[in-house]
């Protein structure tokens, strides 16, 4: 099936679905709209109602979500529909159909009695939580757990803390399955951020050409032209890095994926910050949506534990080299 399709064919459908979602305040209704557009099952197996397409087909969907400030745990829905399908096809099918709003608590583990980074946690049921052994389990409401209100930045997709008081997660994914889910998550998050960052750049570039000061548009000033050019470079860098990671280069698919995720987590919010600066006082207002993009991208960086990712990469870099020219330098540490 994938051979007959191009991921770009999903772009228009995804944009239209995001626009429709923006018109309704009810997250459950947004889920149904996304399901009706066939977007929640893009990468889920056919057995659960999905299209069983490779992950690259989900990229236009998450990019549109990032650009459209989607208030629905789309990344979590895509991941759960794909990765739970072998162990809980009924639940995966309900997610694909938009009947169940499920989510993932991205930070912490169940044994610590509380987990965090749970997008739309106050509505989600069930919730996937990670376990200390590297696996993951499902928790349902009323199983000795309750969600606390968001303390994070994201207002469109607020994060919750889930407090576990005697709850026992139902083990569904082993460590290898969780690693595969996290690998997909890195790509989807980077795609979401690319969409959001590109939207911030487009808004800033338009505003810079409309806003006249000192008798000329802001875009006539080299300092602003260069700022926007740097932001364009940053967006293009994420785009190209994602294309490369999706192509799974033989010299290192894992590092290509991790790098684009870490790059997106850092540069995405910086592009929103830059756009706010271009807008001046208007950029600091609640009504201009740049702060919502900034909040969403910062939340993605937190959910994806980008800081820990950089430290893990540093450890890997220090531990070994794959370049045979330096194999004669023994480790003295």
């Amino acid at each position: 099936m994938a051979d007959d399709l191009d991921p770009s064919e999903f772009e228009e459908t995804a944009r239209a679905a995001m626009a429709a979602c923006a018109g309704t305040a009810d997250p459950a209704a947004r889920g149904r709209l996304l399901a009706e557009a066939g977007l929640l099952g893009v990468i889920a197996p056919e057995a659960v109602g999905g299209l069983d397409l490779p992950i690259r087909f989900a990229l236009p969907v998450v990019k549109a979500a990032g650009a459209g400030l989607l208030g629905y745990p789309l990344i979590e829905a895509l991941l759960l529909a794909r990765h739970l399908a072998p162990v809980d096809p009924a639940l995966a099918g309900a997610i694909v159909e938009g009947r169940t709003l499920a989510s993932i608590a991205w930070t912490g583990c169940a044994e610590d009695r509380s987990v965090n980074g749970l997008p739309m946690g106050e509505r989600a049921d069930p919730v996937l939580v990670f376990l200390r052994d590297g696996g993951a389990g499902l928790l349902s409401r009323g199983q000795g757990c309750h969600a606390l209100a968001s303390t994070g930045l994201d207002i469109d997709l607020p994060d919750s803390t889930l407090v576990l008081s005697g709850a026992k997660p139902r083990m569904v994914l082993d460590a290898a399955a969780v690693a595969a889910l996290r690998a997909d998550a890195a790509l989807l998050r980077a795609g979401f951020i690319e969409g959001a960052a590109a939207q911030c750049l487009a808004l800033a570039a338009d505003y810079a050409q409309e806003r006249v000061q000192f008798g000329k548009p802001l875009s006539a000033n080299q300092v602003l032209r260069h700022r926007l050019s740097r932001d364009a470079l940053a967006v293009e860098t994420i785009r190209a890095g994602l294309a490369r990671a999706l192509a799974e280069p033989a010299e290192g698919a894992a590092i290509a994926r991790e790098a684009v995720w870490l790059c997106a987590a850092q540069t995405g919010p910086a592009i929103a910050e830059s756009a706010i600066q271009v807008f001046g006082g208007m950029g600091f207002t609640w009504d201009v949506p740049l702060h919502r993009h900034l909040r969403q991208m910062q939340a993605q960086a937190t959910r994806g534990t980008a800081i820990e990712g950089i430290d893990a990469l540093a450890e890997a870099l220090l531990a070994d080299t794959e370049n045979e020219w330096y194999g004669d330098l023994a480790y003295a540490g």
Binding site: R225, L233, A314
Partner: protein, 397 residues
């Protein structure tokens, strides 16, 4: 005394057939004398570097995409990239004839006559002709079309008068890719003409300029009533330059395609050398988060380069998109060089072995990298190109 601990080679990552062949050849032919990750009391001579570069071509690893009839190897951009990854991974010296192979050659292929191609292209690859680039002038740097060097029609060809500057490698070159004008400086883009000027022609005067790294590769070149023939002109006036500008946009994107992998190998060398000494390892540790960030940037640079290769493969225009990898690489490499220089400055006092070698290399890279945001279009010019030609930002209401 050999201060390197062992000679165990690690298992390299999988590679295609061209890469595997390149890897084997480089391992067998890159001698200690030529390695850039070793400090040398007496650096490799020009003759040694030329011989290595000639052998590199003979083995199939230069002129990769050039047609076979001109001594090229007739392969595509993907094979070029595959081989360049291996060139980048190894501590190989920079090409003496990069202007010939990466600038003059592609322009000759685009606009040269059949006779010019047959004469000039094989001579580049066999290192008979080393080329320099005569574009910048004292009054025409970033604003290249302000150049004033005149090409005047005379009975037996053209008379050239003017001055070029920042002409890397002119004192060891046999040919100069010269950009001159047939009319007045006010004509700007009109009347520009390209020549392949023999550097031994009467009236060509080369003076070396010492650069901040202590080297003497920079030059200024004076053309005083230099007579060249029509056969030295590359394309007609205007036509040659317009075609060359298109080639330049591709070259900006693809030249030194190995740079991401060379950059990575420099980082790996720094870390590996520090790992080999407890004192240096202590210096290195606080910098690891910054170096991990650099490692991310190297991967992203590979994405920018490979995107352009794919565009070339599908016949798409490169155009202003070549500015992205140039801008990204030059600034990321400078950031790395600054961190690396700070690290090696804290090393214990050693005069030989891995720490001395990596210190010398990182100091060289630090100084040389200052030019990277200046040459081939400054950072500011790249940002202007993106603003104007990609974002289409207007300048007036």
């Amino acid at each position: 005394m050999n201060l390197y601990k062992s000679t165990t080679l690690k298992t390299p990552p999988p590679a295609g057939a061209h890469a595997a062949r390149a890897r084997t050849w480089i391992a067998e032919n890159l001698t200690d004398r030529l390695r850039t990750d070793r400090a040398h009391d007496t650096p490799a001579t020009l003759d040694e570097l030329i011989a290595f570069e000639r052998a590199l071509h003979a083995a199939g690893f230069a002129g990769i995409t050039w047609p076979r009839e001109y001594e090229g190897h007739g392969l595509g951009p993907r094979e070029h990239l595959e081989i360049n990854r291996e060139i980048g991974r190894a501590p190989m010296p920079n090409a003496v004839n990069s202007i010939g192979k990466e600038l003059a050659g592609p322009i000759i292929l685009a606009v040269g006559t059949e006779a010019q191609k047959a004469e000039l292209l094989p001579a580049i690859l066999t290192m008979q002709h080393i080329w320099c680039q005569g574009f910048s002038e004292p009054g025409a740097g970033s604003d290249l079309v302000a150049l004033r060097t005149r090409a005047e029609r005379v009975a037996d060809g053209w008379r050239l008068n003017g001055q070029k500057i920042w002409t890397s490698g002119a004192s060891k070159s046999q040919r100069c890719l010269l950009l001159a004008r047939t009319g007045r400086a006010e004509d700007r883009h009109r009347g520009l003409v390209l020549f392949a000027v023999p550097m031994d022609a009467p009236g060509v005067d080369v003076r070396e300029i010492r650069s901040i790294d202590g080297q003497w590769s920079f030059c200024e070149v004076f053309f005083n009533d230099v007579i060249v023939q029509d056969s030295h002109m590359l394309g007609a006036p205007d036509e040659g330059w317009n075609a060359a500008a298109r080639v330049l946009s591709i070259e900006r994107a693809t030249n030194r395609m190995y740079r991401s992998w060379r950059f990575q190998s420099e980082l790996e060398h720094l870390v590996a050398a520090c790992r080999s000494d407890r004192r240096a390892l202590g210096v290195l540790r606080p910098y690891m988060r910054q170096l991990a960030q650099i490692r991310v940037e190297i991967e992203m640079l590979k994405g920018l380069v490979e995107t352009l290769v794919e565009r070339l493969m599908t016949g798409s225009e490169i155009g202003p998109n070549g500015s992205f990898p140039k801008l990204y690489w030059s600034e990321a490499h400078q950031r790395f060089a600054r961190i690396a220089c700070e690290i090696v400055a804290q090393f214990p006092a050693v005069t030989e072995g891995p720490l001395a070698d990596v210190r010398a290399r990182m100091q060289d890279i630090y100084l040389a990298s200052r030019a990277e945001t200046i040459y081939a279009g400054t950072t500011e010019i790249q940002l202007d190109i993106i603003a104007k030609r990609i974002l289409n930002l207007k300048r007036a209401a």
